[in-house]
Symmetry: C2
């Protein structure tokens, strides 16, 4: 009763922000993302009658009580569904810094869902895995799939899952991530979602998102990078507009975030095809195409306040692997 | 036929952004501001049959062709109204840097309107001066008055003017201005107003502004600083949300803008009564009360990227003075 899975983070072009139902993590709007080839989580889960309680280790340490409770709640869902009330040992490793807005909960809960389902010998389709991953972390819904992925909002649990728009090899978009902070976020995304509707601008954002989902899906299918990038950049500003005007106000940006945003616009004016998108955190993701990625990576590394640049391309969905972590 | 007037900049708690009618500068929403005691413009206007064309000097230099055309158009309005088609000599001096978002057009067009009207021997009430100043620069409407001022949007020229909510001595709010840039703005406010309606969030902002106008007017009347400050801070984030999500997107903030915003929130958490508001530019206005102004001014001066701190208090409206500039 042991399973190990690898899953990857994803970068959303149209982002998830705000829930119709907090407990079920039913989102107020659909979202579209690209699963990344880097930013991996590997998780081994073993259920055993010999364990008196769940033992959980993430990156070699016991997680915070809040993080542990969230993982245990997710294990509970899966054990209940499988009808096997056994405690588990969970060991999880991220190959990137966690809690800095690099979507570690997406890769983490996608890997946990797949590994635990395998350990419990559940026979689940990708759609069911996507539904279950969502209950752990909204964006994990999308990380079940590789390449270009759409999460349809849905109005109830069974209808809110992701599916693939196109596989990774369809189009090589590069995501140059400018890491400007390695500190934990002041307000976790889970808490932020609850504040979304307190912004007076939130309904207007939702209307716009509905149009933008069609634009981005189409741009991916016909490989129109200018359309994809310009919608993604406007969309992320709309997201941060909601965060800033919610009550209390969330300002995830740092001085370096703004410096990078302005540089992206300068570089674009100079003829490079590059756009930015920013999740619920200070780091900036620069979307570009292969001809520009080398110079963008170099230029980004020289911007004051950028601590590290990680270049990602489209990656595979979550899958089981044979090498267990313990 | 010579007149000299002094007028002052103002800082809006609820800001003007977007026009119902661009030519008439009829705003989409009402606004409320405090006229400042510093940031003065002094302007002398003399009409004379001896002049073949208008001669205009601002801060010792001939203004740019666009700035000059805007001043000449304003002189035209006043000459036509007075029935005196004479050319004018205009000399104007600002005691603060212009074109950096410190509302030099507010003090400038308020002073120009009053000085030119006096030189043309027009007998105008403050309400009429406020209407006329609006045609030169929207926020100049408010700088005609001192203290706390509300500009009612109105649906036609005669209805869109400002009046005083309370005189300067009603309440001593301090505005500590953190000057983080002395460069000219990339996009002038006049151009920015035309983009407002391209933001998908703009209608939602207008609805919110209607509620906030009542809150801010009430907060001024009962001297409730927490209410005034919290609404003003949320309001400015809503304004910049519109700017960022308009097409094209306007990002007036610099890294130092964000650094100051974050410090304001830190200082508030430490118990200081201080809020920020930001006009269409990168500089940050810190609203506070007399007990805190000394330490805020000192702390602000030590923030990286802050080039100068200017402390303002409530000031008088535009008025004629005897000392001509030439």
């Amino acid at each position: 009763m042991k399973g190990t899975a690898v899953a990857r983070a994803n970068i959303a072009f149209i982002k998830y922000w705000g829930n119709l139902n907090d407990d079920l993590r039913l989102p107020m709007n659909g979202s579209i993302s690209m699963t990344l080839d880097r930013l991996r989580t590997v998780t081994t889960v073993e259920f055993s009658p010999a364990l008196a309680e769940d033992e959980i280790e993430v990156d070699g340490e016991e997680p915070s009580p809040a993080a542990k409770a969230r993982i245990v709640a997710h294990l509970d869902r899966l054990r209940t569904l499988a009808g096997k009330p056994l405690k588990a040992q969970v060991v999880s490793v991220n190959d990137f810094p966690t809690g800095v807005g690099l979507a570690s909960s997406a890769s983490g809960f996608a890997a946990l869902t797949l590994a635990a389902a395998a350990a419990l010998e559940m026979e689940l389709e990708d759609r069911e895995l996507s539904l279950l991953a969502r209950l752990g972390s909204g964006s994990a819904t999308r990380s079940i799939w590789g390449g270009y992925v759409e999460w349809v909002a849905g109005a109830k649990h069974e209808d809110s899952f992701a599916s693939q728009i196109a596989p990774p090899e369809h189009w090589e978009i590069c995501d140059c991530i400018a890491l400007v902070s390695t500190e934990a976020k002041e307000v976790a995304s889970s808490e932020g979602h609850k504040l979304a509707q307190s912004s007076p601008l939130y309904s207007a954002r939702l209307s716009q998102v509905r149009e933008d989902l069609d634009r981005v899906r189409e741009a991916i299918l016909i490989r129109d990078f200018e359309s994809l990038g310009s919608v993604a950049e406007r969309e992320t500003l709309s997201l941060h507009a909601i965060m800033m005007t919610s009550q209390p106000s969330l300002l995830y940006w740092t001085p370096a975030t703004v410096r990078v945003m302005k540089e992206v616009r300068n570089w674009r004016e100079e003829g490079r095809s590059v756009y930015f998108t920013i999740d619920a955190g200070p780091n900036v993701h620069l979307l570009t195409l292969p001809p520009y990625v080398g110079e963008i990576e170099r230029a980004l590394g020289e911007v004051e306040g950028v601590k590290q640049v990680i270049v990602c391309r489209p990656g595979q969905g979550a899958r089981l692997i044979e090498e267990h972590l313990f």
